[in-house]
């Protein structure tokens, strides 16, 4: 009884005899290896971009959503009283976990990136900021605004919604762009492998003619080319991924003031993600070469 094997199983089992019939060298070998390496390298960056923007979107979406700010602008003599009144009001507001007034040092630190560290903050009419951290389902922003308007006339509630939403949206778009780049890289790998496989098949048309003459089935001939191109794509992509990971490693660290750009990279177990790229490249090469080989062979006598 003859056992029918799937193309992937046949590939994994390998056929040393099919491997031998195709000449081992050629221009297309280097072309495939280089293309796969370049695409593997780029894929690491696309992946890093997707993961970094994902983290950013999560942070902006979750962490910032849990906090709000109350800004109190009042004449100098009333500032302390209004701050005290606002804090009391917050203590009795449902959904507020904690609230605290920022010290003058903290406010100076917030302004330092714009005005420098030597700003004489005491001489300026700087509003008092109160940081509010939410709990549970959060507080009723509109209700709080009305109560503040009644009890603390100089207070303005900023629940971050206005500036947080476009930032989260931008981060999500960037994440989508990263994944789209990965898909495009995969498609480009498939296109390049197909072209290289077609070139190799055309260059070996005499060899294929001899194989057909002695009774080789298309699957035997295709397997010889498919296996070679798949292994080249796997090797090339692995090389590209190693280089890409090294490049990501030497990027500047994710300093707090550096923001998004210096945070481009992998964190924790996300370093395992690049390991997926070489097998994926091999899979793309496997199907691209298989399709190209069967299409070309069909046109041969």
């Amino acid at each position: 009884m003859k056992i029918e094997l799937s193309p992937v199983t046949e590939f994994l089992l390998a056929d040393a005899q099919a491997d031998r019939v195709v000449p081992p060298t050629g221009f297309t070998a280097w072309l495939t290896l280089f293309s796969a390496a370049a695409m593997g390298f780029l894929a690491v960056f696309a992946l890093a971009l997707s993961l970094a923007t994902g983290r950013l979107a999560d942070r902006w979406g979750n962490e910032l959503a849990r906090s709000s700010t109350i800004r109190i602008s009042a004449p100098e003599g009333q500032m302390a009283a209004q701050t005290e009144a606002a804090l009391r009001l917050l203590e009795t507001t449902a959904g507020v976990a904690s609230a605290r007034a920022l010290s003058s040092e903290e406010e100076a630190a917030l302004l330092a990136p714009w005005f420098g560290p030597d700003l004489p903050i005491d001489t300026l009419p700087i509003p008092q900021l109160i940081e509010v951290v939410e709990e549970g389902a959060g507080f009723d922003a509109e209700g709080l605004r009305l109560r503040l308007a009644a009890e603390v006339p100089g207070a303005v509630l900023d629940d971050h919604t206005r500036w947080r939403r476009p930032l989260v949206r931008a981060a999500e778009r960037l994440r989508l762009l990263g994944w789209l780049s990965l898909v495009l890289i995969g498609a480009a790998v498939a296109a390049m492998i197909t072209l290289a496989a077609n070139a190799a098949l055309a260059a070996n048309s005499q060899l294929i003619g001899v194989l057909r003459l002695v009774g080789a089935r298309d699957t035997f001939i295709a397997r010889a080319f498919v296996r070679r191109f798949t292994l080249r794509a796997l090797g090339g992509a692995a090389l590209g991924v190693v280089l890409g990971c090294l490049a990501v490693l030497i990027l500047p660290g994710a300093e707090a003031e550096g923001g998004f750009l210096t945070g481009l990279g992998f964190q924790g177990w996300h370093w395992l993600w690049p390991l997926v790229i070489p097998p994926l490249a091999a899979m793309v090469a496997f199907f691209a070469t298989r399709m190209a080989a069967h299409k070309t062979l069909k046109d041969m006598p």
Binding site: R20, V21, P24, L207, L211, L213, V214, G215, R217, P301
Partner: protein, 230 residues
Amino acid sequence: MKGTAVIELENVAYSYGGGELLSDLSLSLSPGSFHFLTGPSGAGKTTLLKLCYGALVPTSGQVRLFGQDRRTMERDDIAMARRRIGVVHQDCKFLDHLSVSDNIALPLMVSGRDLLNEGANLKELTGWVGLRERAGALPPELSGGERQRAALARAVIMSPDVVLADEPTGNVDWEMSQRLLRLLIELNHMGKTIMIATHDLALIRAAKSQVQARVLRIASRRLHLAGADL
């Protein structure tokens, strides 16, 4: 006749480039028969051989390989039929990166046979065609006669039912052509069907004294049984 012949052509026509090369041609190769195919250059000898091993599809008429209609055969069916037909080309195409021994064993490789088990047969066959000393050489290192003998060995390693040879003595001297002819006659004595396309009338005359051969001539796009002038 239908069903007993290994290869059968019935009212076959073949056109190429707008012109008809072969017309209303019928041929039947019975098991163990010996045929010469002759005719002037460009008459269509190679085309007829290609029709016989399924490399070409007739424009009209029917070609049957081992009883199967060529037009209904899948590509895998043709591959399987070719394992039963050994072909020797005048230009003896080889895989230049493989040794002579590997080239001879190529039909075994493509059919998935284990070369380790076939080692003795391969060695015997290489000796039979007188290439034992050259088994490790690469095809470009072979002389014309050695290439022809290697091609013959490759054609017969699967013990095919039919051997089709296209001008097998075209590039070799008289002595070598006689040696090749003896090998083909020996195969015929083993029961193989042989068809040799050649314009070498001396070769045909030499063979007729050793084997009962039918001589066919292509002329004016048709196939004729050659007369006693040969």
